[in-house]
Amino acid sequence: MKILVCIKQVPDMESKFKLNPEGLWYSDANLAWRMNEYDEYAVEQAVQLKEQLGDAEICVLAIGPDRVKEMMKKALAMGADRGVHIKDEEPWRMDCFGIASLIAAYARDKDFGLVFTGMQSQDRGSAQVGTLVGEMLELPVLSTLVEFSFEGGRVSGKRELEGGVRARVSAQSPAVVTCQLGLNTPRYPTLPNIMKAKKKEIQTLVSSELGVQPGRVEMVRVAFPEKRKGGMLIQGDISQMTSQLMTVLKDKFSII
């Protein structure tokens, strides 16, 4: 079986973010990059599936500038077999529909038995791409899985719902699976696999040649949340706290 895993490179969330000049996204400068956390679950699940099936080929796909290849190497070191890099200098300009259309354009005639994606990305967080890819490829989508199994061509899994409720779902492959936190623990690549990954093929395609569908959602503006003033903590025993509260309400807000 051929398996496709769609992964995205995101900034480390501890980075010092700055906005780009257009104010439409964050600036690329001075950031440390890593693989989107949810995509790591996707890669891990694909590798586990390959270990189960024996005969399978995992292809990882990423969209972005050349730096995304670094992250692809990690996926290859975790156990993916080959990479497809869709080169695009400013992928943030595309909305989820555009991104999904690129993936679908690549995957359409490739006969993938399963497509894994993260549930969402850590930077944009729209949680739409996987679902849209499924729709475009006319495949069933099992979203936000926290448990996954594959038996006789059928995908089964559990989805996490509100309040700790879980739903059991299942679909015939080919299908799309989006992965949620808790699905698995991504492995730490072994050194021989890191070495092997350096020699694995990464094919580069250009986004404009694949044919992007025009976006449907326009990014209007990106901004940092306004800084709130710090709260006030009133401490002491009950009588002290009440008298303090009275003073504050009187002096600061002239309520009383």
Binding site: D12, E14, S15, K16, N30, A32, W33, R34, T185, R187, Y188, P189, T190, L191, P192, I194, M195
Partner: protein, 662 residues
């Protein structure tokens, strides 16, 4: 009558042939059994331990004969040394008899066991036998009656003790029977020179001479056969340490102290890393297991063992020995236990105290390398996360690499590569860069440098973790990645001298990086500031205070820096109340070996143990000079509920408060 005795008295020259044949047979047997062990050692990887062979042999002889390392172990060590020396006297005495009776006398007619020399010879051998016997009894009482905690005795130990005891006692009986028949009736003045033999001979005088003679023959043969047995079973029992431990002094690691094998990661044909099976370790690692005498001193020193963790350095060495001899295909990490492997803080206390010069830490790291590099396994998810943080941000804390120099924003330091000159390059390290508590230490150090007129440069965002914690965790790949970036940045910085505030950084830069081509001079701030003080560039205004000083493993045992920090404390007005475990026997804070990145889930907390040891000195301040130690002690004093009475501080903070400003 002259002062000598008839060699082979009563047994006659007829015993010569059977005696030498038996000796040859015993030695051949011992040789054969040793050869079988050598074949086991040879399973290991090659390792050259022959450079400076002459020096090695001389220092080994010195260590063995003077019992240098053995003696340090308190009463039992002293008893062993006395036993060894007296046994040595007996051996030399016996050899002298052999030389005279079977070489010089029959060939050249030369006899030297005569006159005053014979008197001294006689007295020394007699007393030697007595001391050996007394020490043996004392050691047996310790082993079988007192039974110190952790001392492991096997059945063959009792056999060895019984054999040695019988050899000594039968030796005395031979002497006493001979003296009862000869010296006592004929030459009493000579008998005085064998006081023990004489004391035993007096009651034997009631026997008639023929009885004495036949008893003497019986004992002579028993003694003879016991000695032959002793020689033959050396390789099979704990007795083999006579040879293996002495040889281990020859094959000792001659430094740099604590250096690990640097893996060649450029070698594309390598598909296997670390020790998965015994044959992946070196022959010396296997030999070490045979040099172990199970004296348990390592176990008594081990901070993991003292805090109920499943690690005993002694057991680990013996487990490896068992695998090497009985089950060479076994999976090493599994046999030793991964929890034991991950419990090690690489503090080196075991190696420092080992009387057999066994190297424990390197073996543990080799096995960890296998777990990490071949199986992607760490002691916990938090350590995997730390490794990923290092890959992404160059520090294990997961903070942004671009914030690395934020601690120094207002200090007006020169950032290498951005113009400006500096005298020293301060390699700050991750904790002093990012951790609030340790930032204070970094700022204190800079303040001291400024007061001494030293211009300080830093690498800023270009500095990465030195890689030491990950290296000790077994992740050699990540360590070398970090090291390569640091080496490039430091060498491009134009620095001539690098100073660190972290002993782990210091050990990496000053030792480990040398294998990767790094050449700049490196100092820990303790030695650097001590120099500035001595040169009169740094001036301190002493204010009296009481403290205790904790020797960090990587400054102390790894680099033998014990004096400089104490001198600085004294210059600052500090009066040091030493803890019982200080200097080379210091008790680790618990953070070494990459454990700073791991949660301490097993046993009790090492840092709390250490905090309690510090509190016992009654000193109100616990001074250290390592960011890991400081971090551990801040937690340790809280955990041990000593916050009221004990304050952990860094040496630099104390010094900075006492700068003498004109």
């Amino acid at each position: 009558m002259e002062a000598t005795r008839e060699i082979y008295w009563n047994v006659g020259p007829a015993v010569l042939l059977p005696m030498y044949l038996l000796t040859a047979a015993a030695m051949a047997l011992a040789g054969f059994w040793f050869w079988k062990r050598v074949r086991v050692y040879r399973q290991g990887q090659s390792l050259d331990r022959s450079a400076d062979l002459k020096q090695r042999v001389l220092s080994a002889l010195n260590m063995a004969i003077m019992q240098m390392r053995v003696r340090r172990g308190g009463g039992a060590g002293g008893a062993h040394a006395l036993f060894f020396w007296s046994f040595l006297v007996l051996l030399v005495g016996t050899l002298l008899i052999l030389v005279q009776a079977d070489l010089t006398d029959p060939l050249f007619g030369v006899r030297f066991l005569e006159g005053p020399f014979y008197l001294i010879f006689s007295l020394l051998l007699d007393l030697g036998g007595l001391v050996a016997l007394l020490m043996l009894i004392a050691l047996m009482v310790r082993r079988y009656l007192i039974r110190p905690e952790g001392l492991v005795s096997r059945r063959d130990d009792l056999a060895v003790h019984g054999l040695l005891f019988s050899i000594l006692v039968t030796g005395f009986f031979i002497e006493a029977l001979r003296m009862a028949a000869t010296e006592l009736p004929l030459n009493r003045e000579l008998a005085i020179w064998s006081p023990v033999g004489m004391a035993m001979a007096i009651p034997l005088q009631s026997l008639a001479e023929p009885q004495l003679r036949s008893l003497h023959q019986v004992f002579w043969w028993i003694h003879m056969l016991l000695v032959m047995g002793f020689i033959a079973i050396i390789p099979l029992t704990r007795l083999r340490h006579i040879l293996t431990t002495s040889l281990n002094y020859v094959f000792v690691d001659r430094g740099p102290k604590g250096a690990l094998r640097t893996l060649d990661l450029e070698d594309e044909s390598a598909e296997h890393f670390g020790a998965e099976k015994i044959a992946d370790l070196s022959w010396k690692d296997i030999f070490d297991t045979d040099a172990c005498t199970q004296c348990k001193r390592c176990q008594d020193q081990c901070p993991a063992h003292a805090t109920e963790k499943p690690l005993s350095p002694m057991k680990l060495i013996n487990d490896l020995g068992q695998v090497a001899f009985d089950d060479p295909e076994a999976a090493l990490c599994e046999r030793v236990g991964t929890d034991a492997l991950w419990s090690c803080t690489t503090c080196r206390a075991c190696q420092e105290v080992c009387p057999a010069s066994i190297e424990h830490v390197g073996k543990i790291v080799e096995m960890r390398r296998n777990l990490v590099l071949m199986q992607g396994e760490f002691p916990g998810e938090e350590v995997t996360a730390a490794a990923e943080n290092l890959e992404v941000n160059g520090n294990p804390l997961g903070l942004s690499f671009s914030a690395r120099a934020d601690w120094a924003k207002d200090l007006d330091l020169v950032v290498a590569g951005q113009g400006g000159e500096f005298d020293i390059l301060y390699f700050v390290g991750c904790y002093a860069s990012f951790d609030k508590r340790n930032i204070k230490v970094a700022r204190s150090f800079v303040e001291l440098c400024k007061a001494a007129g030293v211009r300080v440069g830093i690498l800023g965002e270009a500095e990465k973790c030195c890689g030491e914690p990950m290296r000790k965790m077994g992740n050699e790949y990540l360590y070398q990645m970090m090291a390569a970036e640091n080496i490039e940045a430091m060498q491009a910085s134009g620095a001539t001298k690098v100073v660190t505030s972290c002993p782990h950084c210091f050990n990496s830069l000053a030792k480990d990086y040398r294998d990767l081509g790094f050449e700049l001079e490196v100092q820990h701030y303790s030695e650097y500031l001590a120099e500035l003080l001595e040169q009169g560039r740094l001036k301190l205004q002493p204010q009296a205070f009481d403290c205790t000083y904790h020797d960090s493993c990587y400054l102390g045992r790894y680099n033998d820096i014990y004096q400089a920090p104490r001198e600085l404390l004294a210059a600052a007005g500090g009066r040091i109340e030493e803890m019982e475990r200080h200097g080379s026997e210091s008790f680790c804070c618990g953070a070494g070996g990459g454990r700073i990145l791991a949660e301490e889930k097993l046993g009790s907390r090492i840092s709390e143990h250490r905090a309690r040891m510090a509190a016992q000195t009654q000193a109100p301040t616990l001074v250290s000079n390592c960011p890991f130690c400081l971090t551990m002690f801040e937690d340790g004093v809280k955990g041990a509920q000593l916050e009221e009475s004990l304050v952990p501080r860094d040496l630099a903070e104390i010094l900075a408060e006492r700068i003498d400003r004109p």
